[in-house]
Each structure stands twice: as C-alpha cells, then as structure tokens.
C-alpha cells in the first residue's frame, strides 16, 4: 500500500506553478496545488488541476517506430537509433552539415534542450537549431537585448502585486497566464490601476480598470504618442535618462510629430484615455509593463518591444521593484530553451556564436571546433527545405503543422525532406509524416529542470516510471549522439548534464541540483552563494547604458479590401494549451471546450445574416477553413478572432509566414486579412 504526493512544476504555460502529483501504487491518480510555492501559493488554472489526465491517454506514443512503406512500424530502441544515425550520417556526408536542421522543444527540460544544441553544434556541426521562441518571443529577446542588454523578463511575477499601475499590452492574461493575472488582481485589490491595451475585449480587459481598445497593430503610434505627451508635460525621469541611458535626443526628435490628435485618429483610442494612461504610468509609481504575443507577433514585433523599452526607460520604470518590461513567455521552458542556446545565433547563456572568445570556451571544453556563422531560423528552415537545401530535420515536441503560419507551405516543406526524425509523447500530425518516431516520456516520467518566464529555474523530480517502452528525451538524444560516433554523450543522470551546463553558461554558473532541490533560483546566478537575481538592471543596465532606439510607425503588410475585408487575429483559450496535443487528451479540458470557433461582431454577423453556432467558410490568401461562429462583442466590427489550438480547422492555414520581422524573423500571426462566406 503506497500513497505519496510528489511536488513538480506544471508543464503548460510559463508561470511555472507548483503542483503536487497524487501517486497511488506508482500510478497517477490526481493533481493538487502546492500550497507553499512562491508563484501560485496553492492556486491553479483548470489545466493545472488536470495535469494527471493526459499521462495515461491511449493516444500516447508507446514505442519507437520506423516508417516502412507508408506505415509506421513499432521497432526496438537500438534498431531505431542506429537507423536514424545511419541516415543522418549519409545525409551529412552527401550534403554537408548545414543540410540538417533541428527544432528543439520548449516543453522539454533545460538538460534536453542543451543536448539538442550540443547534438547540432558538437556532433552534426551545424548552427541550424531553433525552437518555438522564434514564433512567440524572439522579438522580445532581440528587442530587449538591443535596449537593455538582456532579453528576459525584468521583474519577477510577485512584484506585480506591489505595482501601482500595470500596463498590459497584447496579453490575454487571465487565459494565457492565469496565475500572473492573480497577482495583477491582487494589485487591483490594493488600488492599482490596471490598463489593458488590446484590440479585443478579452476577459482581462473586462475586469481591468481601463481598456484601450486599440486598432490592431498600431501599438507603436500609441506608445510614441504617450512618450511625446510625457516629454511635453515634462513628466519624464530626467535624472534616470541622463545617468543610465543614451540616444534620448534622437528619440525625442522622432516622436515629436506624434501629437495626441494624430495618435487618437490612428489608434482609435480617445485622447483623454491616452493622456490619463501616460499620467498614471508616470505618477502612480512604481509602474510595470506586462506584454505578450499581441506585441511580438507582428512583422515589426521587435520594434514594438523596443518602443515598450523606450517608454519604460523614459519614465525610469525599469531596474526597480514592481517595474520593468515583462514579456510573459508562453511555454513552461521556452525561457530555458533560449537560455540553453537553442537559437541559431546564440550559444547557451546568450553568448553569440560569432563571438570568438565565447565560442572558444565551448571548443576548449568540447575539444572540437564549432561552426561560426549563424544558422537558420524556423521559418528559414522551411523556406530552405522547400528549395531542397535542407535534407534532414530533427523536430522535438513541436507540431509546426498546427502552430506554424501558412500550414500548407510547411507541409510541402516537410514532405520535401529526405529524412525526418520526430520526438514526441503523443500521436499527432507530425508523427504521421515522420520517417523515424522516438516515443519519449512526459515530464512526470523523468527528472530535470524548467525555467519559467521570470528566469526562475525549478527542479522537477521523476514522479512515475516511463510508461510502456518510452525513454526520456535526454536518453534518446544521448543514444543518438553516441550512435553518431560522438563520445560526449555518456551521461547517466540529468544532474551530470546540468553540471556541464552551469560550467559553460555564466548566468547558470551558481545553480546546481543540490541548491535547486531546496528552492528555485532566478538567473543570473554567478556563484554557489549567489541568491539569484530577483529583478534585472538593479544597478545599471546589462549593456551598460540603456539605449533609446527611435521607432517609426509601421504599415501592415496587407490592407483589408473587398476580397478580404476582415482582419483576423489569433490567440489562446484558458481551457487548451497550444496545439492541444496534451489538453485534447485530458477529459476535463476537452469536455469544457472541444471544438474551435470564430468570434464575429454582432453587427458583422447581422450584415452577413449569420446565426450563432452556424458553420461558415473563412478564406485568406493562404487557404480556407470551415468553422463554427460565435457572435460576441469581444471583437470590434471588422475584426475576427480564432483560437490557435484546434487541428480540425487550424487557424494557421490562414495566417501568413511572410514578411518576417527583419530583426527576429518572427512571422505576423496576429494580423491577416480574410473573408467570411456563408455555407448554403
């Protein structure tokens, strides 16, 4: 007879909530919140409460498979590994290392992401490694490194409680980061002003103190307008600007033409609200900015992020408690994946691949020369695959056939490959077209560490034995690495991998399993005694001086016309998570919401004579889908919204993969033009 509650970290969003897995006789039976965890303090969203439900789903991958003819056949591990290694070596010989690309999973542990990076650079000799951060917060990483010097969330989540004003840009917080919303609501209960800037009347917008229902994609104009007003009124923090920043004069010149009336006309927000928001942001201090994909997923996402950085530096609202510019990272370990260097231009710890001194550290440690020039980003990988330059891909825990824009293009690219390896825990669209499928164990079946959105590295223990014939990802990659002839993959526990990480990554140097088991640590944590860094830029910016980069207003890449009169935007729903591979297989979540819908404004619905619950056809320049209608005033006339989670009518058939943001190569998810037709 055995019953135990094992603490772990929720595998879904970036909040990194503490959960307790109920285990009876080695079998998962339930999930409880961890009452004493610093972030969620015993609270969970609906996904948190049903973490145990997906583990025993019959759609779980049970053993490795190789595609024979057009059917996947279950094989033993050694056969699958050796076959995969043989084919990879052939392709590497024939087309060279840069013909192989890897996509790591932001849902796997830091150790596993590090091994994927090591497999790419150390074994295969290519920098073609990227992951889904590209599609969500790569703009934040690039934008904040350019302005502050560090691309991560500046202040921790609990700091939000003490903020007097919180500006929420493009974040459906109660649905995408529910426990972050809890801290915001606590601040509201203490009298803070919560101002939401979002084209949609999301749930957080309805419960905030003020909602600026901005026209989609005009954030830069609004922010420049606010900054201009602040300077005109003399509310800027002059002392902060002079001592800690540079480039203020050019900024002042560029934004001078954004006066209130112009900004009101472009953004559709009335002047009084803009003035009031600027006033509150500068007077009700400390003020904090929280933002999500509504800012980053545009083809000028990085500029949006830079504008937010400008606004915070202009008013001295950064580098202090309860302030800062806080990107809410989507995945449970997307921050960790970035930290581990699964980015084409960065080694682990944001050390540039092209920076010889940093790269030599790695080469000295691994005793092998590493490729110098930057690799391909996710979208570039598919473009190159279409051209035939990429022959083989290894995709770990990712479903581009749902989550990447312009799905038909992605499908053609993947079919154009000679060899595709997929590591996942569930059957999904990717396992159908893969040549080799590695059945991996879920986060409850292996030990490791996650890093949540506020740079907090947290330890997760092994709760249950791997189910059926699955193996943890780090063992799979190690086997593959050794099979590819490399000697650097003989680890027998994730702790060993982590020790190698902390040696090679300055911001993780002080972190170890022994410390993590006692309490989580926020990087940068330089030494064994370093208590971790609660908030960044405490005494001066990481890059020395904060840099103002003036940003001009941007034009959308396609304008609504008669053929495609509506603007479509996408986003999340609290009941499901990303491509819903796990949440669709959790009965409680699937019962709550099992089919997708398109939100249409009542006036538009009336005009098109569409009834609530009716199925309509939605067409864009990239493709078309049929989808059920939900008439609601969440969206303003001319704007429609489809959540991203559902495979039966994936919204990303409609979205466009280009133009990419020049700096961070992020595709413009949040904006595409579509048309809606009744089905007779």
């Amino acid at each position: 007879m055995e019953y135990k509650l094992v603490p772990s970290i929720c595998p879904y969003c970036g909040c990194g909530c503490g959960i307790l897995m109920e285990v009876i006789e080695g079998k998962l039976v339930g999930t409880l919140p961890l009452k004493t965890h610093p972030i969620n303090k015993g609270k969970l969203c609906i996904k948190g409460w049903s973490v145990h439900e997906f583990v025993y789903s019959e759609n779980r991958l049970r053993s490795p498979m190789i595609k024979k003819g057009d059917k996947l056949k279950e094989v033993e591990w050694d056969e699958a590994i050796s076959y995969a290694a043989k084919r990879l070596l052939e392709i590497k010989e024939k087309y060279g290392p840069s013909s192989i690309a890897l996509i790591s999973s932001a849902r796997c542990t830091n150790e596993e992401n590090f091994l994927m990076m090591k497999l790419a650079r150390y074994v295969l000799g290519t920098n073609n490694i990227d992951h889904c951060a590209r599609l969500c917060h790569s703009a934040s990483v690039i934008g904040l490194i350019k302005t502050f010097g560090s691309g991560a969330m500046t202040n921790p989540i609990p700091h939000l409680e003490e903020a007097k004003t919180i500006l929420i840009f493009g974040s459906n917080t109660t649905e995408a980061h529910p426990i972050v919303a809890t801290h915001i609501l606590r601040a509201k209960d203490k009298g803070a002003n919560i101002i939401v800037v979002d084209p949609r009347k999301t749930h957080i917008a309805r419960i905030a103190t003020k909602h600026l229902q901005i026209k989609i994609g005009t954030d830069i104009v609004l922010i420049n307008g606010m900054m201009n007003e602040i300077i005109k009124q003399g509310w800027e923090d002059k002392e902060f600007i002079n001592n800690l920043t540079e480039g203020y004069e050019e900024l002042k010149k560029t934004i001078s033409k954004y006066d209130l009336s112009y900004v009101a006309k472009v953004t559709g927000v009335n002047e009084k609200d803009i003035y009031e928001t600027a006033y509150l942001y500068t007077h009700q201090k400390p003020s904090s900015i929280v933002y999500c994909l509504g800012i980053t997923e545009h083809h000028y996402g990085t500029d949006n992020v830079i504008s937010l950085a400008n606004l915070s530096m202009l008013t001295g609202n950064v580098g202090k408690p309860s302030t800062g510019v806080n990107p809410l990272r989507g995945q449970n370990n997307v921050q960790g994946a970035c930290d581990m260097g699964c980015l084409p231009q960065y080694l682990s710890g944001y050390q540039k691949v092209s920076d010889d001194k940093a790269r030599e550290e790695f080469e000295k440690f691994w005793k092998k020369n590493l490729p110098k020039e930057e690799g391909l980003t996710v979208e570039e990988m598919f473009t190159e695959a279409l051209k035939g330059n990429i022959k083989a891909m290894i995709i770990q825990g990712e479903n581009p056939l749902i989550s990447d824009p312009n799905i038909s293009r992605v499908r053609k690219a993947l079919q154009n490959l000679e060899f595709l390896i997929v590591l996942d825990i569930f059957f999904n669209e990717m396992t159908e077209i893969a040549d080799v499928v590695f059945a991996c164990s879920s986060f409850l079946e292996k030990e490791g560490t996650f890093t949540n959105t506020e740079r907090r590295v947290q330890y997760i223990p092994k709760v249950i034995e791997p189910i059926a014939n699955t193996k943890p990802d780090w063992q799979v990659i190690s086997l593959l690495g050794s099979a590819l002839g490399s000697k650097g993959f003989s680890y027998d526990s994730p702790e060993e991998i982590f020790n190698e990480i902390s040696q090679l990554t300055p911001i993780y140097r002080g972190i170890s399993y022994e410390r993590l088991k006692r309490y989580p640590l926020q990087w940068p944590c330089k030494t064994r005694l370093d208590p971790g860094c609660e908030y960044l830029h405490k005494d001066g910016f990481v890059r020395g001086k904060g840099r103002f980069i003036p940003i001009e207003e941007k034009e959308p890449f396609e304008i609504p016309d008669e053929e495609y009169p509506f603007i479509l935007t996408t986003g999340r729903v609290v009941f499901h998570y990303h491509t819903a591979t796990m949440t669709k297989n959790s009965p409680t979540l699937n019962k709550e919401l099992s089919s997708v819908y398109i939100e249409i404004n009542p006036e538009d619905a009336q005009r098109l004579k569409i009834e609530d619950g009716e199925k309509v056809k939605v067409i864009s320049r990239r493709g078309e889908i049929e989808i059920k209608v939900r008439i609601t005033d969440n969206v303003s006339p001319g704007l429609v919204y489809i959540p991203m989670h559902f495979s039966e009518s994936p919204v990303n058939v409609l979205t466009s993969h280009e133009p990419l943001d020049p700096q961070s190569k992020i595709p413009p998810y949040k904006y595409s033009c579509v048309n809606i037709k009744k089905i007779d």
Binding site: E611, D612, G613, E614
Partner: protein, 646 residues
Amino acid sequence: MKIKERVGVFICHCGTNIAGKVDIKNLIQKNSDKENLFFFDYPYFCSQPGQALIKEKINQLNLTRIVVAACSPSLHEKTFHKVAQEAGINPYLVSCANIREQCSWVTEDKEEATEKAEKIIFSHINRVIYQEPLFVKEVEITPRVLVIGGGISGIEAALKIAHAGKEVYLVEKEPSIGGHMAKLDKTFPTLDCASCILTPKMVEVRENKNIKLLTYSEVEEVSGFVGNFEAKIRKKARSVNLLKCTGCGICINKCPIKVDSEFDMGLSKRKAIYIPFPQAVPNAPVIDRKNCLWFTKNKCGLCKKFCPFSAIDYDMQDEIIVEKFGAIIVATGFSLFDPELIYQYGYKRFPNVFTSLEIERLLSPTGPTLGEIVLKNGEIPKEVAIIHCVGSRDENYKPYCSAICCLYSLKLSYLIKEKTKANIYNFYIDLRLTRKGGEEFYNRVLEEGVEFIRGKPANIKMQDDKLVVECEDTLLGKIRRVKVDMVILSPAICPEKSTPFLSRILGLSLSQDGFFQEKHPKLAPASTMVEGIYIAGCCQGPKDIPESVAQAGLAAAEAISLIDCKKIEISPVVAEINEDYCSGCCICVNLCPYNALEYDSEKNKVKLTQEKCFGCGVCVSACFAGALSLKNYREQEILAQIEGIL
C-alpha cells in the same frame, strides 16, 4: 439558436378568446423565416377539422416536435397527445402553451398580450426540443383483495367483492368479526335488533368460499404498489383447532379463570378460554394466553382434558401468511373517546356513570344484565341523564361533531324509558337528527316524556348517593341542578388505535382530526391518495351504519373495477436514476414521500422503484449531482423553457 428538430407550432384562435387580444397573423409572419420552425393557425384546433389539420401537417412536413398554443393544458393536453399519437409521433413530444387563461384573458393591452404570447410560445419551442419520447408502462393486477377490519364495513365490502367472484382475504384483529355493531342492542331509528341484521351477514361471510376469513390476525407489513401489493399477515395462535371444534362450550365452563369481558366493556366476566359473544363468527373459543394458567404458571389444562373433540392445542404457534393482493380496503372502524379524561364528569369516579356503549351492553339480551337497566347496586334507576357531545365539538378534545350520538341518545332514551319508566333528561348543545326518519323518532321520544335541556353540563357531583348534574340551561337562561340516579355519556368517535401504524405501513395520509384522508371529500370519498388502497366506514370519519355500508359498497366497487381491468397503466411521468452519477449520499432517500428510493449498500448507490414513484420531483431537485431526473420535467427542459420565456 440552431434548431435540429422540425417543430410545428399550431396557434389556436379559440374563436376570439385568443385572437381577440393576440395578433396571431403578425406573430406568424414575423417568425416565418426561422429554419425548421413551421407556424400554423386555425380558429379551433380542438375541433375535429383542427385536429385533422395538425395530423396532416405532421405527415406532410414530417415534423418531429409539436407545440400547440391554445387553452390550458388541463383542458386539451390529452386530446393533443392523442392527435400526435395517431399521426405517428410519441405523445410526450407535444408541449401545450397556455396563451388563453394565462395570457389573452388576463391582459388588457393587445400589444402586451401579443408579446407575452410570443414569449410563452418560444419558451415551449425551447422546451419541446429537449423533450424525450416516453412510453406508458403496463402492470398486471393480482385478482385478489385484502380487507382489513371485520366490522360491518369490512363485512359488507368483503361480501360485495366475493359476490363479484373475486377472492377476498378478510383480516380481523379480534377473535370474531362483527366489530362495534355486534355490541349494539337496537339500531336507530327503526329499532330493529343489531345482531338480527348483522348475524346473517357474518354467517354469509363464513359460508362464502371466495372469502378467506383470518380472525385473531393482524396485518404487519405491506409493500408493493397498485395491483401488486404484498401483505404479511400474522395469524395469532388461537390454541383451538377450528376444524375439530363444534362450539359445544364444555371447555369454557370448566375453565377456572374469570377476567373482565372486553366485549361487555368490562361489565361482566369471561373465562380464560372464551367465545366473545354467542353469535361470534367463527363460533369457536380462543385461549387468552395472558390469563390462562397453562401459559402463565404452566398449571391447569382442564379445557384440554375435557374437550371431547381434542380441539385444544397449546403449542399452536402464530402463523405468518404472505400473500399478493391487487387492492386493499381499510375498514378498521373507530375507538370511543375515554370520558375519564373529562374529570368533571366523574366517569369511573362515581359508580353510576356509564358510557353509551356500556348501556348498549346492558340493554342487550346477551349482555351482563340480560337486558335489564340497573344501577351498579342492582336497583332500577328512576332518574337518568344522557349527556351529549362528551369530548365532541370541544376544542380541548375533539373539535368535530361525531354525527351519530344525538340519534343513538334518542334511541337509548326511548329504550330506557320503555324498560324503566324513569325520567330521562337529555343534555344537548344542538340536536343533529339528519338521518332519514330522525325527526319522527324525535317526536316519538318527546311524546314519551323525555325531557331535553339545551346546555352542556359543567360537572357532575355526588350528593347523598345521588348524582347532581349542574348545567346552564341556555333556553331558560339559568343554572339548573338535576338530581339523577344514572348518567349516560355519549363519548366522541375517535380514530382507531391502529390508524397511525396502518397509515405508516400503507403510506396513507391522515386528515387534521386523525382519520384516514380520502382522495376527494365529494368525488372520491372511498379512495385514498395511494392508487389501489380504499377506505370504508368510521376509519374515514364518524358515520352511522347506513353510511358505512354505502361507503363499503363504493370501496368494493372501486376494488372490483380495478381488478377487472386486468392491467393498469403507470404514468410515464416518473423519476429515473443515472447509476454512474449517483454517489450514494442518500439526500433523496429521506425526502421521498412514497419510499420509492432505498440505499443499496454493496453498490453504494440508491435504487429507485419506478412503480412507487408519483413524479413529484422533490428528489430530483434535492440531488446536486443530477443523478435523478423527472421524465417530462427534466432539468434541461425547464431551464430551456426559462431561457425562452425571459
């Protein structure tokens, strides 16, 4: 809202009753574009052509749901159910919207009436979509009737049923049938002797092969439902073998024990082995095991020794009989109010204060004094007072009038006057002589010189061995003190002692005054709320013999008609339980007024007997988990109806 079902909405003009206020044409026109919704109107849908139109539309447009917006469902719901059935749709897929009594007739302004009618119609459209087909269930009926209580009502009912060729079980608690009527001497107003009219019926009961007579027996448990009752009857051991006993009486006079005879109200003695009264049916003795020496001290045994036919059997045990019945008739009679409770009247304190039933025994030729009216000291009384309404029409005791005391008091006055020539004073509040021939009897008694004093005696005192009745004569307006030798009290008729127990095991409800509650005072006086259980005689309320016999006949008729239709339809509007949702918390079990729900401990679930369920829905609204739902009134149906009407 997208509707999947094809719903036909039939709006009735009802001449001008509805059309006068509700603008039906515009209402139909406004909703003509709705998908799967078909509106029709007609002056009188309840009429033959109206019904034909509905049937035609059903077939023509193969509709799956029907809403009839017309008068109150209590008028024509059944009609429209039949119409749907004939058109091939399950009758419970019809919903009647009441837009006459609850809309057009009660609203002044036309526009308001139309808008209200539209809301009501759409609430029923929402509802009908969620309605599910229901099927009437049929249950076999056991062709056998159980009659509880062997008084005149029980006997009458049993005989009527037996004559109709049905099998009857007549269960009587006392050793013999006959009940209270057997104790009476004469009956008013015709003064014919009670036992002369009762004994032939008792004999007929014994002779009739359709009647299985179980005396000295009590019903202990009843379960099941209409047509399928199951009763557990305990036949107490008589210690006398009825087949062998010839009723010769040797055992009785050999028996050394003498105790008060209950039959003679304690005024005379009887042996430990006794026959209650000469005309007893069955005419066989019974051993009173509480007083018989053999059972108390294991001595004597004379009766067995002297019985020529060895009919005495000491080790006879109680016998439990379990039998199935189609209907049950309760005829358990009444009990007399105990006058001792009214201290002032001195019953039991003074020797010569009698109850009317005791006087009946004195008057009876088989009584303790063989018909002589004598005082306790044997003398013939010269002054007799009869006090009416003892305990009746009195808010301290019984608020109701016991109906028969006035008439039988006159009878007693007449008989006593005839026997003793004594002066008789009747103390009354109001003389209620409603029975046929009552007024003439009153005049005859007046002629005999019986005096009537209008005033309820305050108290009775003893003065030099005479009884003084003090009362205020409301006609003369002064206090009178009347000296009498004997006082006769007419106690109130009260519910029989076993009534609460029987109401519990049969599930019958009681009226305010403790008698069994009839289904409807005027239209169904012999039926009860429980299908298949009927009541007759004083157990339903005070009444005289003719009324009891009439009610017994009605109860018998009801039972016979129930049994004759062989099968009975159980209404489909009953609860149903979803086993997976039920978590065995039993909140519902203690709320069911019909004990249709029990807890099943191994499965840790609640079990529902649908046949016992009357469809009140109290359990459904108490169940949080939605495990219980009431057909035709399911939670979704009502919630959808609310959505439509607001």
